[in-house]
Symmetry: C2
Subunit: 437 residues, 2 copies
């Protein structure tokens, strides 16, 4: 019997966690974030109650703006046939991105693009659940031709054509099944940011860094950029805590102009930072290129605030970054992230996803694992960020074992939150917020 | 007596005009726009009823998202002392841009940045009205030091420091008063896009192009990018209509990838287009640079969708554009546009503002005239876009004489709409929309 079910509702929840109370997540540009989700549920009239769940991440105020933007996409989604959406997720994503009136609000950046990304990701959750597979495997078992059909190549052809993409995907076809088995057996490497928040004392940093090494992590990350003296001391403290064999990345969260970034990093260089993340504006391609030239061999990384594939394209064309940090909830959803993974593969640059926040670890692990199975086909110098916040609110939370992400096995994108959490942290009327007045 | 008045309300109106019915404003990426304004009014308790008016422009759907984002800024504005805001508009703008939670929604791009721009511009309208001056003159009579205080130099220092800005402004100090007089006497040069919408017939194009020349315009603009054969014919038609001495700019509204842009422009080259506007993605700095190298002597222009000063900085650093097209309602308001004018002056690139839409002509004329008075100090190769749409809805509409913008003389930013228009075109409940069902 053909599937005649339809998407009958797009629900949006404004969910916020009072993380600012403990300075978890504190950095040089985000001193007091309340990690939040503009959370979307696509409901269908399928007999099995099929739904799609995903979210846009914010840091508190403005989560209502993001939720409103998602709700504005309702007429583009509700009423669509589930089978048609699932059969052409590339077409579905393009129909949202290219709406000739909505695109003025970006184009393809900021609030409207993150809203598109949340809805597109919810459609992938729905499609993967319908197929009975976790998203990483759902993607990893698509043919190269199907995968190329997911990508919007507009504005990419000077760096990546559909033929280039097909070549990359076909080269990675041999060994797909073996890599799926390896992921299921051993998981995907992670690094942890949990020791390094700016608001933590040196004692807490030392303790958490040692815990991280004991737990099997081979890379940790420190937030930097508020005060040079403090950063030198914290970097020295962290190096003493973990020894010479553990990589220490540092993250300035966009704090610097170009020359200050170079000067600051030279002061930290003797402690061998592995990469400097977000040294300056995420829009500043030329700035990243200049910083990279000056601070080698320290690597330059960015991505969590990079607005879209066109900016990633240029970061790669100009050799401005050593590490591409995709984010599951910043760009226009899985479709655009497939384009970014293909661009990184074309230029031979490793992808080390940004995560943390709310649900970002849960979602982005699927993209990294798909990359390993079907795009780059390697784990060399690849790690997914891990932060031990807020996973308890998810139905299928990430599982870390020996410093690695265990491969998800439940169908979907792992972004579904527990109903009790959605209710407790609903903003502003949920019990968690009502109690705080 | 000190001014103890405060901002007591931030009102937002969703106002839309059914322009799609006549294909006014039709281009290759925006086939059927309904020109719209997310319109903001800052109300005060000043005894004279002082208010500040400005707007964010959109093309229809999504205007509610933009209006919601503006409304979300209410707690940052309401309750502030009028005298304090007016004494430090630079600080006011920075307080909105750098809010550590809201900035996640951009940073400094898209819906949240346009919302900031609308509120900042409304504060400038309020401040200029309070000073009894049109904004161009209010700005043009500030000291170089005051003007530098308006600018957020974060992320600019590798291209423009505060000292550079001060040098530029001091160099332009002699002759300010003379240029003010010249503007009042003769106005500022304009060009017109009215003949060239993609939806118009060749006959209408010819007729309107001849009217434009008869009215004193020395430059017109055609929309291109939908079909090459049509564009060649329309370019030939326009050239025949206006002769060899009138500049014809063409505008692709982001339609092309890099190589297609080059190929297409080579087909139009024999009709001597003056500039190609938005040949590709507004985020594609390297793409614009490549196109510019290939299509010289045709000039490359962009800006109406350039998200912020950091992207303009790079377009200038890489010699990617010949013309900087500021827009009054895309970036973070007058403060950021001052930064962009200073960047353009530093690199010696003329500014030819984007206008049209709703109220964009009214607002941006103030920036171009300020540039002439106090920044670039020249009119050489400078023109402001003019489109003859929707001016009747403004209290102080632009006045075009002999192909030039007459300098506004009423206090403020000229963005204030007539109450009857706000009511008639309120969306979705105003009479104009209720009648359309």
């Amino acid at each position: 019997m053909p599937d005649s079910s339809r998407i009958i509702a797009l629900d949006v929840h404004d969910v916020r966690f009072p993380t600012s109370e403990h300075l978890d997540g504190s950095d040089a540009m985000n001193p007091e974030p309340d990690y939040s989700a503009a959370y979307v549920v696509l409901r269908t009239d399928a007999p099995d109650g099929l739904e799609g769940h995903a979210l846009a991440f914010t840091t508190g105020r403005g989560n209502d703006v993001q939720a409103n933007a998602i709700a504005a996409l309702t007429p583009y989604v509700v009423g669509r046939a589930v089978a048609e959406v699932c059969a052409d997720l590339g077409g579905f994503a393009r129909s949202l991105v290219h709406d000739p009136q909505l695109r003025w609000l970006g184009p393809e950046k900021g609030v409207i693009h993150m809203a598109t990304g949340a809805v597109v990701n919810a459609a992938w959750d729905l499609a993967a659940k319908r197929a009975g597979k976790p998203v990483w495997r759902f993607l990893g078992e698509m043919s190269p031709e199907e995968l190329v059909g997911q990508v919007d190549f507009r504005w990419l052809s000077d760096a990546l054509s559909a033929d280039d993409a097909l070549d990359i995907l076909r080269r990675a076809q041999p060994g797909r099944q073996e890599r799926i088995e390896l992921l299921l057996a051993r998981g995907y490497p992670a690094y942890t940011t949990s020791p390094g928040w700016l608001g933590y004392s040196d004692e807490k940093l030392t303790r958490l860094a040692r815990v991280a090494v004991a737990e099997g992590f081979t890379q940790i990350k420190l937030k930097v950029g508020a005060a040079l003296e403090d950063d030198v001391r914290r970097m020295k403290t962290a190096r003493a805590a973990v020894g010479d064999d553990v990589r220490i990345a540092v993250d300035a969260n966009q704090r610097w102009d170009v020359q200050p970034a170079i000067d600051w990093m030279r002061q930290l260089a003797s402690y061998h930072p592995y990469w400097i993340e977000e040294p300056t504006s995420p829009d500043d391609i030329m700035g990243h290129a200049a910083i990279r030239r000056a601070v080698q061999p320290i690597k330059v990384a960015t991505g969590e605030h990079v607005a879209n594939r066109v900016v990633f394209k240029q970061l790669l064309q100009t050799h401005a970054v050593d590490i591409v940090q995709i984010d599951a909830a910043r760009v226009g959803g899985i479709n655009e992230n497939i384009a970014i993974l293909l661009l990184a593969a074309k230029f031979g640059v490793p992808v080390c996803p940004h995560a943390g926040g709310v649900g970002l670890c849960e979602m982005v692990q699927h993209l990294a694992m798909f990359d390993y199975v079907a795009v780059s086909a390697t784990l060399q110098d690849r790690v997914i960020e891990y932060v031990d916040h807020l996973h308890e609110h998810f139905v299928d939370p990430v599982r870390i074992r020996d410093g690695r992400y265990a491969a998800p096995t439940l169908p979907g994108l792992s972004a579904q939150m527990r109903p009790a959490s959605l209710a407790e942290y609903a903003y502003p009327d949920g019990p968690a917020w009502a109690a705080r007045g």
